[in-house]
Amino acid sequence: MKLIACTEGHSSKIEAFSLEMIAAARSLVEAGDEVVAFFAGAEADAASSLFGAADRLLVARASKSELIPAETYARLLRDVIDAEAPGLVLVPYSANGLDVAADIAARTGWPLISYVNEIKRDGDELTVVAQMYGGKILADCAVRLPAILMVNPGAFAEAAASPIDSAKVSMIDAEAVLAGGKVKMVDIDVPDYADVDLTKAERIVCVGRGIGDEASIDLARNLATLLGAEIAGSRPVVDNGWLPKLRQVGKSGQKVKPKLYLALGVSGAPEHLEGMSQADLIIAVNTDPKAPIFNVAHYGATCDLFDLVANLGDRLRAGSGR
C-alpha cells in the first residue's frame, strides 16, 4: 500500500509539520508499503534535502517561489492520487490543508477524519483519536481504508531531516495546472514586526474571551506593564477588534515561547495551545476548571480573573514602590 504524506512550503521555506506528516505515515507502514511525500511549490531542492525519511518524493514544481493556492494544490494532489492509488493520504491541519482535505474527500468519496492526534493501523482498518469541541472531547473513530486524515501539527514528532536519493524524486509537470487555476494569488503580506514581535517577548500576558469586553483589556494591559510583559490575545479577542492582529497568539497568530505566559480567561482551544504550549512558565486563570488551558499550565487558578488582576496588581505595585 502507498501512504501519501502531503507537505508544504513557500517563500523559500519548508513548513516544519511536513516532516511530521512523513513521520506519521512512516509509523503506519506494514511490509511492502511505501511512504510517498508530495510537495508542490518552487522549493523542490529544499524538499529533496529534507525528506529522506520518505521512500519517494513527488514534486509539482513551480517556477516562481510563491504560495500555491489550495485549489491548485488539491488539483495536483488529485492527479497524484489517480496515478498512485494510495490507501491513505495524510494532510496537515494548516491553512492549506483546511481546503485540501475535504475537497479531496468529496471528489474521491473517501472518508475523512480531521484534527487527528493519534493513529493506529490494523491492515486496512484504522483507529484514530481526533479532537472535537475545542479540545474538550476526544473522539475514538474507526475508518476503513482508503481514507484521508487531517493531522494536527505537533501530534507526531518530526521525522529526521536527511536528503532523499535523487533517483527517488520525481518531478510532475505542473505548469498547466498551475497556470489554469481558478484561484489566483495576487498579494502576500508578511507583517512588519517593528511595533511588536511576540515571538521575541520574554513575558506575555494573554487575554481570552473571558475578559468579557474591550474596556477590560486595559486592566490586563496595566498588569502587563507592571510585569514588563507584552499584552496579547487569543483569536476571539483579536477577531472582536480588541487587540491588533500582531498581538494574536495561536495557529493563525504567532507561535511564542516566552519565559512567562500568563493566560487570563483563555480556554485553550487546540489552535491556541499550538502557539504557546512551549512557554517556560504558563500560569492560567479561568473559572472553568475543565478548560483545556489547564492541561498545559504549570500553575492554574479558577478564581475570577478581575479579582486576580486587581490583587496581583496591588501586590506588584506595592513590591515595586509604585
Binding site: P69, A70, E71, L98, D99, A101, A102, A105, A106, G109, P111, L112, I113, S114, Y115, M132, Y133, G134, K136, L138, D140, C141, A142, V143, R144, M150, K182, V183, K184, M185, V186, D187, I188, D189, V190, P191, R209, L227, G228, A229, P236, D239, G241, Q248, K251, S252, G253, I283, V285, T287, P292, F294, N295, G300, C303, D304, D307, L308, R315, G319
Partner: protein
C-alpha cells in the same frame, strides 16, 4: 449577487460537556446551543457585501435554536431565512449537510456560499471545501476580508504568523470565513421584535451522497491536568502565591 450563508447551531463549548449514556455523543439534553462563532462572522460578511454592492442574502440555519438565530439574521439584514431540518439530538456533520447546501445553492443560482471556516462538530471535514467540491467551484477557507467587484472576488486569507494572502477568483465560489471585515454587529431589541415576524422557510435535507464515512466509536474527556499545580479559587491567596512564584523565578519586576 445571490449569497447563501450557512448558520450552524452548536453546543456552547465554553460550558460543561457531558457524554451521553452510549458514549458515542455528547449529552445534548441540558446544553446551551449557540450560533457557531465563525458562522456569525460569515453572516456579517454577507451583510457587509450586501451593503457595499447590493446582494440578496439567504440565511440557512441548522440545529437547535435555528428559528431564533434566523430572526436575528433577518434583523441584521438577511432577505430570506430558511431552516434546514436536521435530525434531533444529533451532531451537525458538515460532511452530511454539504449535499443539502450544494443543492440549495444550485436551485437558487447562488453566486456565493459563505459559511464559517470550521465548527466544533466538523470532525469529518469542513463545510466550505465539501460544498465547493460538490459544486465544482473554487473555495477558499480562513478569509478575513472579502471584496466583490461584479463577479470578481478579492479575498484575503489568514495564514500562520500573521501572514495574509490575497486571492482573486470569480463567482460562483464558496468561502469559509474566519473573520468578517468588521466585527459582527449588535441588533437592537426593537429590530429583533420587528424581525420576529419574518416568515421562516423550511427545507428538507438531501442524502449526503457519500457511500462510506468514518464513524465515532466512543467519545471521552481528555485526561485532565498534566502536572500543573492548581492554586485554587481565592483571588487573594492565588495572588500571594503568584507573587512568590514570580519572585522565585526572577519575573516579578521589569
Amino acid at each position: 449577487m445571490n449569497i447563501l450563508v450557512v448558520l450552524r447551531m452548536i453546543p456552547d463549548s465554553a460550558g460543561e460537556l457531558q457524554l451521553a449514556e452510549d458514549g458515542r455523543a455528547i449529552d445534548r439534553e441540558w446544553l446551551d446551543f449557540q450560533l457557531n462563532d465563525f458562522d456569525d462572522h460569515a453572516l456579517e460578511e454577507a451583510i457587509l457585501l450586501k451593503e457595499a454592492g447590493g446582494a440578496k442574502v439567504m440565511a440557512v440555519a441548522i440545529g437547535e435554536g435555528a428559528k431564533r438565530v434566523l430572526q436575528m439574521a433577518a434583523a441584521r439584514g438577511a432577505d430570506e431565512v430558511v431552516a434546514l431540518q436536521s435530525e434531533e439530538d444529533a451532531m451537525i456533520s458538515s460532511r452530511e449537510i454539504a449535499a443539502s447546501i450544494a443543492a440549495m445553492a444550485r436551485a437558487r443560482s447562488v453566486d456565493l456560499v459563505l459559511c464559517g471556516v470550521q465548527s466544533s462538530e466538523d470532525v469529518f471535514g469542513q463545510l466550505a471545501p465539501y460544498v465547493g467540491a460538490l459544486l465544482d467551484c473554487p473555495h477558499v477557507s480562513g478569509t478575513n476580508r472579502i471584496v466583490a467587484n461584479g463577479a470578481m472576488l478579492r479575498v484575503t486569507q489568514e495564514r500562520g504568523a500573521g501572514v495574509a494572502v490575497t486571492y482573486e477568483l470569480a463567482t460562483p465560489a464558496v468561502l469559509g470565513v474566519q473573520t468578517a471585515s468588521k466585527a459582527p454587529r449588535y441588533v437592537s431589541g426593537s429590530k429583533l421584535r420587528e424581525a420576529s415576524k419574518t416568515p421562516i422557510g423550511r427545507a428538507t435535507p438531501e442524502p449526503s451522497g457519500f457511500e462510506r464515512s468514518a464513524e465515532i466509536i466512543t467519545l471521552r474527556l481528555p485526561v485532565q491536568g498534566g502536572s500543573g499545580e492548581i492554586l485554587g479559587d481565592n483571588a487573594d491567596t492565588v495572588a500571594d502565591r503568584l507573587v512568590g512564584i514570580l519572585a522565585a523565578k526572577g519575573l516579578a519586576r521589569n
